[in-house]
């Protein structure tokens, strides 16, 4: 099996290195970008599935790029958790491609940016080195600034600029944290850091500052309250397909990075040694959960509702991570995956509704859509319920693990808060479902033909996963168990 370990590197490098080709090809062929991106990502998916299977059989893979050894070489590390996020990313990226073929934006440079974004995300997930994590974060971020501004609205330029400023500040915080870590330990490699940080002392001010800086930087990338402000603008103006990526994947990737920093680099002992930091983390996560929900309640624009709901959902996920035991961490992993699928499908659906019914966005404009578009409405209802987290959907199972994990730690208030947030989520999603089903249709069916069978298949698959994934949580837990144990212990 060892001879295939380079597949891990290929997952990252294939989209990154081929990203320029659509632009070059654009000189000769028009619109080659879509098929090229689809091909590359499908190949990457095949690679990722193979790697996931290898990891499942033989355990985590450490791979040194080009055989150059650490500390000079670049190390890649992949375990079950990484592959979960990589597969989620790939599946959603492919789903988004199905949507953008008709839904736009088109053009070769868009797909070049899209490939770059994907490569950056896989890099963040698979890297084994905190500095390279920064590099990949920036690749991911810069390409996403470009994609946000690729929308046809003029306002998107402003939104992209704001996103760029905030994102760069976040990245700088993270980089400062990396620099301090290097100063304190002399290495950047993730699997060497835990021992060295322990030697430097968990309560050493430099170590604590490094952690806090990295945490703040990543919190901006995840869009946690109160540093979530870039998110709303970016969503409102980004193309719908890109909103799906920004909302479902980029925070997921960033939260993955945060989990790696907490568990693999600083280890739970660091949190034990610094209860204040741990508590701040927990409070921040809960604050994000509730602030996001309240902001979402105030919106009537579907994309803003979904965007703020992302803030609150990542609050839940981070709560699970901050609780720091196996049950809660697994709950967070499940929630990352489930939320990713559900939120991306909802954004694609919002785009489909807008395409077909003439750019509708607000609650009132959603009235009576079920009468014209039963499949889309049905998918919206199922996904909405999954988003709220009612049984038996995946959101419910994720919450169960997180609440139970918090309860195990004696944090019963946290588990009560996590559960109570369900009501708020119901409060912002149900008005849409209610409008769709129980109001008369008032809009106009502008462009029926714009909805392809491919799009319908994608959202039906998304809704089915959202509805049924919860039933397989025990199996998923079995698969992820070793990764979870490695991280917590």
């Amino acid at each position: 099996m060892d001879q295939y370990e380079w597949f891990v590197a290929a997952i990252v490098l294939l989209p990154l290195l081929t990203a320029a080709i659509p632009v070059a090809a654009g000189l000769r062929w028009k619109n080659v970008g879509w098929s090229f991106a689809a091909t590359i990502l499908s190949v990457t998916l095949a690679l990722a599935v193979t790697v996931a299977w290898m990891i499942h059989e033989n355990g985590p893979i450490h791979y040194e790029l080009a055989g150059v050894e650490v500390p000079f070489g670049i190390e890649l590390y992949a375990d079950e958790f990484s592959m979960l996020v990589v597969l989620l990313t790939l599946l959603i990226a492919l789903g988004v491609l199905v949507y953008t073929r008709i839904g736009g934006p088109r053009g070769n440079s868009f797909y070049a940016g899209f490939l770059l974004l994907n490569g950056g995300m896989y890099g963040v997930v698979i890297t084994g080195d905190i500095f390279n994590l920064y590099v990949f974060l920036e690749i991911m971020a810069i390409s996403s600034y470009a994609l946000v501004s690729s929308s046809k609205y003029r306002w998107s330029t402003y939104a992209a600029f704001k996103y760029l400023l905030v994102g760069t500040v976040g990245a700088s915080f993270y980089l400062l944290g990396v620099a301090l870590t290097l100063a304190a330990t002399g290495t950047l490699t993730m699997h060497e850091l835990p021992e060295l940080i322990a030697e430097a002392g968990y309560t050493d001010p430099v170590v604590i500052t490094a952690f806090v800086l990295m945490g703040v930087g990543l919190a901006i990338k995840i869009a946690l309250f109160p540093v979530h402000t870039w998110l709303a603008d970016a969503h409102a103006s980004a193309p719908d397909g890109i909103s799906a990526v920004i909302s479902a994947l980029m925070p997921a990737v960033a939260v993955y990075a945060f989990a790696r920093v907490i568990y693999t680099v600083f280890t739970p002992e660091f949190l034990d040694a610094n209860p204040t930091v741990a508590q701040l983390l927990l409070v921040g996560a809960l604050l994000s959960l509730y602030a996001g929900s309240f902001f979402a309640l105030l919106q009537d624009h579907i994309k803003l509702v979904l965007a703020y709901s992302t803030v609150s959902q990542f609050g839940i996920i981070l709560t699970g991570i901050a609780v720091a035991n196996e049950t809660a961490l697994f709950g967070s992993m499940l929630q990352i995956f489930g939320h990713g699928i559900v939120k991306a499908s909802l954004f694609i659906l919002a785009g489909m509704f807008a395409l077909r019914f003439g750019g509708i966005r607000t609650v009132d404009e959603y009235a009576g859509l079920a009468k014209r578009a039963p499949i889309m409405a049905g998918a919206f209802a199922v996904l909405g319920v999954a988003m709220i987290g009612l049984p038996p959907t995946v959101g419910f199972v994720g919450k169960w693990y997180i609440a139970l994990g918090a309860f195990e730690e004696g944090l019963w208030l946290v588990s009560a808060l996590v559960l109570a947030s369900t009501l708020l989520s119901a409060g912002y999603i149900l008005p849409f479902i209610n409008r769709i089903y129980f109001h008369p249709f008032e809009g106009e069916d502008v462009d029926r033909a714009s909805i392809t069978h491919g799009m319908l298949i994608v959202i039906v698959i998304g809704a089915t996963i959202g509805l049924t994934l919860g039933f397989f949580s025990a199996e998923i837990q079995g698969i992820l168990e070793s990764a979870v144990e490695d991280m917590v212990v």
Partner: protein, 569 residues
């Protein structure tokens, strides 16, 4: 004898509990597919009802012999070595609820055809599909083998019922729908919290007759934790059971079509709440443990207060369905009261009241629906002399309401007798007092309806409701809030445009000034599709009252109660 029963309980792998739940899923699909052919669509719904009932009934003999049919789909969620299985089991307690729901669904499915067509309701396809889904979810609640699975179906039930409440898509229907969701989802969350607590404290949430093992020890070590868990579970279920003060959704949900009010808001949904309380008391904590942590008494007080207060509210309702709704709230608390007494007879009475109340209340709702479809009668003040026009319907109504009041040889008496006996057994004199007072109140709010229907005429009647003004004096302003919600001015609040408000009971249309006509033929007062179901349920009320021990429920419940007492003592 009791020890033998315990020993005889055997678990048998069987596909049947799962098969019951597959039927509604299939039926829903078929109903939607045949939406353009109403006759085929209704055939699916009746076929589904009959096959569900048949499968449930086929398990009865086995369950009576102490067999528990179980379908186990393996681990649902896990936690280290412990897992919670996605398992369904048909035990005696589940069978009681499943038999009632699926059996009455057959009658309601037939009745709905008459009602929906007779009233030219819109969105009939969605109605039949969701009705089927709701009953399926209720059966899932009945057959759940642990709290987790129960909660899953409990929430599915909430969601499946919502389209039925918001059925006519009017502003009022949507508001009621929201109210219903807000209450039911909050209740579900409380159950969720209680479940997390029980799982963590006891390490197991599978239903065990007589109580989960770990909980008894826990109750000794940390009674407050056990109390909190019990309060969350029972409180969460009490929302659907309409125990005051979390009952307010039920009267507003009466905006739904009458078959829904009848089957769901008197049988399947609300009994799912009462059933949840029963599971909590009997199979999660066990009567002994509940007694030990002293949670029986608060529950009994809540239930007793609900019985009296909501009966008082019922007195003042002029809208027939609203009166029935408040009566439902009171009657559901009989079940809770019986369970909270924690004695054998109390448990028995509470559980017997599940079928007894279901038969009688469904009869009443079916009658109310028939009056509405046939004559457009919604208010009691419109009913003088109506017995002449609809003799069979009103006779069935009389049977149902006497059963509500607990008159002997009717179903309500059997259960009420056991609850009283249980109260006496517990040495609690306030139980018989509450029940007798409630019986008197039942007479007070049902008798005027029967009296006005049979013994008054349109030109000579006393005006209904008998008790019109709020308790504690007449309001000064017409828009003062009443204690039971709504305004003093809107006696006919939900029918503003058809009736002129403010004129009290001076409707010009109803009752007709020249009196009601007699029906054309013996069975032609309304369509047979509606008449036969309501006659059948009235017959069930009589049968259950005359020979309770020949009905299967009695034996099932006796088995449950004996086991519950035996294991925990």
């Amino acid at each position: 004898m009791t020890e033998l029963l315990v020993a005889q309980t055997t678990t048998v792998e069987s596909i049947r509990p799962a098969a019951v739940l597959v039927i509604p899923i299939l039926a829903m699909g078929l109903i939607f597919l045949s939406k353009n052919r109403p006759n085929v669509r209704e055939a699916w719904s009746i076929l589904a009802a009959i096959s569900m009932f048949a499968i449930v009934a086929s398990m009865v003999p086995g369950v009576l012999d102490g067999t528990v049919y179980e379908t186990d789909f393996g681990a649902f969620v896990g936690l280290g070595d412990e897992t919670i299985d996605l398992a369904l089991q048909a035990d005696a307690l589940g069978m009681v609820f499943a038999l009632v729901s699926s059996g009455l669904y057959v009658l309601t499915a037939i009745y709905s055809i008459g009602y929906m067509r007779g009233h030219h309701e819109p969105f009939q396809t969605r109605f039949f599909a969701m009705l089927c889904a709701s009953v399926g979810a209720a059966l899932g609640v009945a057959f759940a083998a642990n709290i987790f699975v129960l909660l899953v179906f409990y929430e599915v039930l909430t969601l499946a019922t919502y389209p039925l409440v918001a059925h006519d898509e009017s502003a009022e229907a949507r508001t009621s729908g929201y109210k219903y969701l807000a209450y039911a989802l909050s209740g579900g969350l409380a159950v969720f919290g209680g479940m997390v607590a029980v799982f963590w404290l006891a390490g197991d949430i599978s239903f065990t007759r007589g109580g989960i093992e770990g909980l008894a020890t826990l109750a000794e070590d940390d009674p407050w934790a056990a109390r909190a868990a019990f309060a969350l579970l029972a409180g969460g279920f009490a929302v659907k059971a309409g125990v005051m003060p979390v009952h307010a959704w039920l009267p507003s949900a009466m905006v739904a079509p009458t078959p829904v009010s009848g089957l769901l808001h008197a049988v399947a949904v609300v009994k799912a709440g009462a059933f949840g309380v029963a599971r909590t008391v009997i199979d999660v904590f066990g009567p002994e443990t509940v007694a030990e942590i002293g949670m029986g008494t608060p529950l009994a007080i809540l239930a007793g207060a609900t019985i009296i207060i909501s009966s008082l509210f019922a007195l003042r309702q002029d809208n027939l369905k609203a009166r029935l709704a408040y009566s439902t709230i009171a009657q559901l608390s009989y079940i809770v009261l019986g369970l909270s007494l924690l004695t054998q007879m109390g448990l028995m009475g509470g559980l017997l009241h599940i079928p007894a109340h279901a038969f009688a209340k469904l009869t009443l709702f079916l009658c109310a629906g028939a009056l509405y479809v046939q004559l457009d009668v919604k208010y009691i003040s419109e009913m003088p002399g109506i017995g002449r026009r609809m003799p069979i319907t009103m006779s069935a109504f009389a049977v149902g309401s006497f059963s509500m009041a607990g008159i002997p040889i009717l179903a309500g008496f059997v259960s009420k007798w056991h609850i009283m006996w249980g109260g006496a057994e517990a040495g609690n004199l306030f139980v018989p007092v509450v029940l007798i007072a409630s019986g008197a109140l039942n007479v007070a709010y049902f008798w005027p309806i029967i009296y006005t229907a049979f013994f008054e005429t349109p030109d000579d009647h006393g005006g209904k409701p008998v008790l019109e003004h709020p308790f504690g004096g007449t309001p000064i302003k017409s828009l003062q809030y009443r204690p039971d919600g709504g305004h003093a001015g809107d006696g006919h609040d939900d029918d503003g445009d058809a009736h002129d408000d403010g004129h009290g009971h001076g409707h010009v249309e109803l009752p007709p000034s020249d009196g009601w006509d007699r029906p054309a033929g013996r069975l032609s007062e309304t369509t047979l599709l509606m008449l036969v179901p309501l006659m059948s349920t009235a017959t069930l009320v009589l049968l259950f009252g005359i020979a309770p021990d020949h009905m299967v429920f009695f034996d099932l419940i006796q088995g449950i109660v004996e086991n519950a007492g035996e294991v925990s003592s």
